[in-house]
Symmetry: C2
Subunit: 129 residues, 2 copies
Amino acid sequence: MLNNQPEADLDLVFQALSDRTRRAIVVRLCGGPASVSELAGPFAMSLPAIVQHLQVLENSGLVSSEKIGRVRTCSIVPATVRLAEGWLGARRTHGERRLDRLQAFLAAEPDSEPQSHEPPPSIPPRSTP
Amino acid sequence: MLNNQPEADLDLVFQALSDRTRRAIVVRLCGGPASVSELAGPFAMSLPAIVQHLQVLENSGLVSSEKIGRVRTCSIVPATVRLAEGWLGARRTHGERRLDRLQAFLAAEPDSEPQSHEPPPSIPPRSTP
DNA sequence: CGAATACTTAAGTATGTGCTTAACAATCAA
DNA sequence: TTGATTGTTAAGCACATACTTAAGTATTCG
């Protein structure tokens, strides 16, 4: 699916990934497309339960599927995996940039003259509706 | 927290990230530590609601906090961000390796002699408890 | 055709999630 | 000490999730 509405998309993607059965399905699909029953095979739960997990995955945009004859074949959507990974990457990058600056700040500490040393905490607040 | 039990950890981490308020808090904390009320500031919801979100984040291992005097200061735990990012990275890597092989397969297709062309779908099943 | 296969739909249930308000600490400052 | 600040705890409510079983619907095969 993917609404192109980043926050809503990330809601759905991370939510989809928060269940280990669904993560296992994603892992399986990264090895190539599979039918619903192939996907259900390894699990102890009922087929409808798996189908519901697949709906969550498809709704999140992590998985797509096509039905041919009586078999539905599911595949991953790598772009969606990248979307989530990208969000986390940005966090890590920003966080680590900040950490680097903080370490530099602490390293150059022995009471040198106060240059543009931004003090570590207290950053301007963000707006969120 | 982090149980060192990868699947359970990922459950908690992805679940924590599946809420946009919590993601906004993570974004904010990537800019540096903050107190509970600083974190609550931008949001329209009650303080206890934010505290509950912080509990989810802390329980997932994405955030740690320490109380000094009457103010609790929260920070991100970059290692946990990396844990989730790493899982997704592994998916992308495997998935794209597979896609590469598939593309190679399709590229070398004009009915050449059947070498060790593994047919694209149908991969050996995985075991999952 | 008739039966097996591969899902699909519907309905129900137990538990979890995301809030709320109200009341209660604990700490700091005048 | 009094009162403001900063957070915590508890209870409750509406809605979402993760299943279940039972009963369908297409499709393909013999």
